[in-house]
């Protein structure tokens, strides 16, 4: 029985002008493009400069800032008010104001003040831009210190140089952080959305009624719906892993089998979630919106973009209920740290819990509606 239904499903699957293409194109474009776009590294910060001093020290500082590559000097204003206007008109993100007699004060008192003002409308850009600038200035002040001391040639001030070692992602590449998570997002879409929409589509067309009056068991019918999308899930995952290897030079530190094993549980859980939706939705449009609402919530609560630890307490609590959170943790750990199954047992338990919960709910709600 299942064989005939599967034959039908695969025929329909490949006859569909859109789904097979999506199974190929979605992971390709997601893995190729999303990591480039979803990037929090801040470059091209527009800096407005107010140099009241115009000394060799202040020029040195400005050169250093420009040489860092993070900043564009968009204008040089004569006073702070003018500089503020460029911020107001959105031409500049930061103002660096060098006070009059900067050089003289620095040489005389070994201490001088600078002012940085940031436009925090885009908090990310303002914050990171300020941090970059502060680092450059402190670097610069270290050099000045050495230079001034060197002139006198007597005392050596111990200079603390901090070189952090970023474990697991040594160059802090954002793509390394994002790619495993995006793989999962694509998997969720293909294995959660599509079978749910397919089943609701049969409801909408009335074809499910025609099937219900036959001896086909509901279980068989639903399994025949899920299998093509489970298989597409593996295809999608494999394409994603291959592309991230070729394009992003990313290969899991851990075992591939661990990834496929966890992906299987996740697919099971998330297709169960799709079934729950399909039981409550009457039209494809309803199903689409319901899926969209939950998937969006799951994604934002999963730590895909922002770390869960940054969220307020209540949101951290809600994030426990996002299956995406656990599978994204798994992928990042396997990809970056090379974690093995033993280190992933909490995630394993959580994902199994979701699989049982969603599929159990799907079975119960299906019975109710008939």
């Amino acid at each position: 029985m299942l064989r005939f239904l599967l034959e039908k499903e695969f025929k329909q699957f490949f006859r569909n002008s859109f789904v097979p293409r999506m199974v190929i194109m979605f992971p390709l474009s997601a893995i190729l493009i999303y990591p480039l776009v979803a990037n929090f590294e801040v470059k091209n910060v527009n800096l407005s400069l107010v140099d009241h001093d115009k000394s060799s020290y202040s020029r040195n500082l400005v050169q250093k800032v420009v040489a860092s590559g993070y900043f564009n000097i968009t204008d040089i204003s004569t006073n702070y008010e003018d500089a503020l206007e460029t911020i107001e008109s959105d031409q500049a993100d930061l103002i660096l104001e060098i006070p009059p007699n900067f050089e003289r004060t620095l040489v005389k008192d070994k201490k001088a003040n600078l002012m940085i003002s940031a436009n925090a409308v885009n908090g990310n850009k303002g914050g990171l831009g300020t941090a970059y600038l502060v680092r450059i200035i402190s670097d610069y002040s270290g050099n000045i210190q050495a230079e001034l001391m060197g002139n006198h040639g007597r005392l050596k001030i111990p200079n603390l140089d901090i070189i952090p070692l970023y474990r697991y992602n040594p160059s802090l590449l954002y793509s390394v952080f994002m790619v495993p998570a995006i793989l999962i997002m694509v998997l969720a879409m293909i294995c959660g959305f599509l079978p749910a929409l397919n089943i609701v589509g049969e409801k909408e067309n009335g074809t499910i009624e025609q099937m219900n009056v036959t001896p086909v068991k509901k279980f068989t019918f639903i399994v025949s719906k899920l299998i093509p999308y489970w298989l597409s899930g593996y295809v999608v995952l494999t394409i994603g892993i291959t592309v991230s290897l070729l394009v992003w030079k990313l290969f899991p530190e851990g075992y591939l089998i661990t990834i496929y094993f966890f992906a299987t549980i996740f697919i099971l859980a998330f297709s169960g979630f799709g079934l729950v939706i399909s039981n409550y939705a009457v039209t494809v449009q309803q199903a689409m919106f319901m899926m969209f609402f939950f998937v969006l919530t799951f994604i934002f609560m999963s730590g895909l973009y922002t770390p869960v630890e940054n969220m307020p307490g209540w949101a951290q609590f809600i994030s426990h209920f996002s299956p995406l959170k656990y599978i994204i943790q798994v992928l990042r750990m396997v990809y970056l740290k090379g974690s093995s199954f033993n280190e992933l047992i909490p995630q394993f338990i959580a994902l199994c819990g979701f699989a049982i919960f969603f599929n159990g709910w799907a079975v119960l709600s299906y019975k109710k509606s008939s």
Binding site: M1, F4, L5, E7, K8, K11, Q12, R15, N16, N205, G206, T207, E209, Q210, M211, N212, V213, T214, P215, V216
Partner: protein, 308 residues
């Protein structure tokens, strides 16, 4: 054994009572027509009998199997054709037929004799997707799919709604052939003219049967004097006829109005009604080309009488 037994079946949707305790029986090998307007409860009844819907109370059985307890055995031996085309539009004609044959663990070849007459007409298009068929061809395909497993009872929910008159005629000819193959057919329709093609009919309205009998008996039991009236101003005629004191009811029926006369107005009961008198009255009211004649009642007239 009766093919279908229904006793005191009730079903409500929220506050609307779709079926108000109906009972009827269908003999094996007959065409039983359920005839009534939209919203009478026909589809609800069909969905209960085809095990798609649970009744609130009452008993129903199909071919000796109770619809709730033995739903699995019922699903093996009935054919159901819903009012809406419900086959896979993205599969071809042949693929649709094949999938339904294999679900019932049979093949197209095995029961080809059953569907031959119908399927031959759509066979030239067997590689065409079902969604690309015309309305009449879709009906034929749906009937083929419902028949491919040689069902004992065939449920057809408004099979001719939205089908052209020629295809409708063909469709009923096919049903007659199927009846001779020993298949019991339950068919619902809002078209009263199709009633005479059934062995027995049940007139249904608002979830109740008004009458269950053969079409001939129902017509013979019609007691009123029925006249058909025409004039040059049909809509004014309807209004004028309804104000006539001798006239009991008056309904628009295609190109004429059907009127019934009050019993006490008839000459045999001492009344003074006559066609000439009515014609005179109407011509005084400005009607021309008045044409009134007695006619034999049809099922629709009976339905109107019973539904009053």
């Amino acid at each position: 054994m009766k093919a279908v037994i229904v006793q005191e079946l009730e079903r409500s949707y929220d506050k609307v009572e779709a079926l108000k305790g109906i009972s009827f029986e269908v003999d094996q090998g007959e065409i039983f027509g359920i005839i009534g307007p939209d919203g009478a409860g026909k589809t609800t009844l069909f969905r209960i009998l085809t095990t798609l819907l649970l009744a609130d109370s009452g008993f129903a059985s199909v071919d000796g199997n109770e619809v709730v307890k033995d739903y699995k055995s019922i699903r093996k031996k009935i054919g159901y054709m819903p009012g809406r085309f419900s086959l896979y539009q993205d599969l071809t004609v042949e693929e649709n037929l094949k999938i339904f044959a294999s679900i019932f663990k049979t093949t197209i070849e095995e029961n080809y004799h059953l569907i031959k007459d119908i399927y031959q007409q759509i066979e030239p298009f067997k590689k065409r997707k079902a969604g690309a068929l015309s309305g009449g061809m879709k009906q034929k395909l749906a009937l083929s799919c419902a028949l491919i497993h040689k069902p004992v009872v065939l449920f057809l929910d408004e099979p001719t709604t939205g089908v052209d008159p020629v295809s409708r005629k063909e469709f009923w000819d096919m049903l007659d052939k199927l009846k001779h193959q020993g298949i019991t057919i339950l068919v619902s329709t809002p078209y009263m003219d199709e009633a005479s093609l059934c062995n027995r009919i049940g007139l249904i309205q608002d979830g109740n049967f008004l009458k269950i009998d053969t079409p001939e008996n129902i017509i013979n039991q019609y007691e009123n004097v029925l006249l058909a009236a025409q004039s040059n101003q049909m809509s004014k005629l309807l209004k004028d006829l309804r104000t006539e004191e001798d006239i009991n009811t008056c309904f628009a029926f295609g190109d004429s109005h059907h009127i019934t006369i009050k019993k006490e107005s008839l000459a045999e009961n001492g009344g003074n009604f006559s066609i000439d008198k009515l014609t005179m009255d109407l011509s005084n009211k400005g009607h021309k080309d008045i044409h009134i004649e007695p006619i034999k009642a049809g099922i629709e007239d009976c339905f109107m009488e019973l539904a009053k």
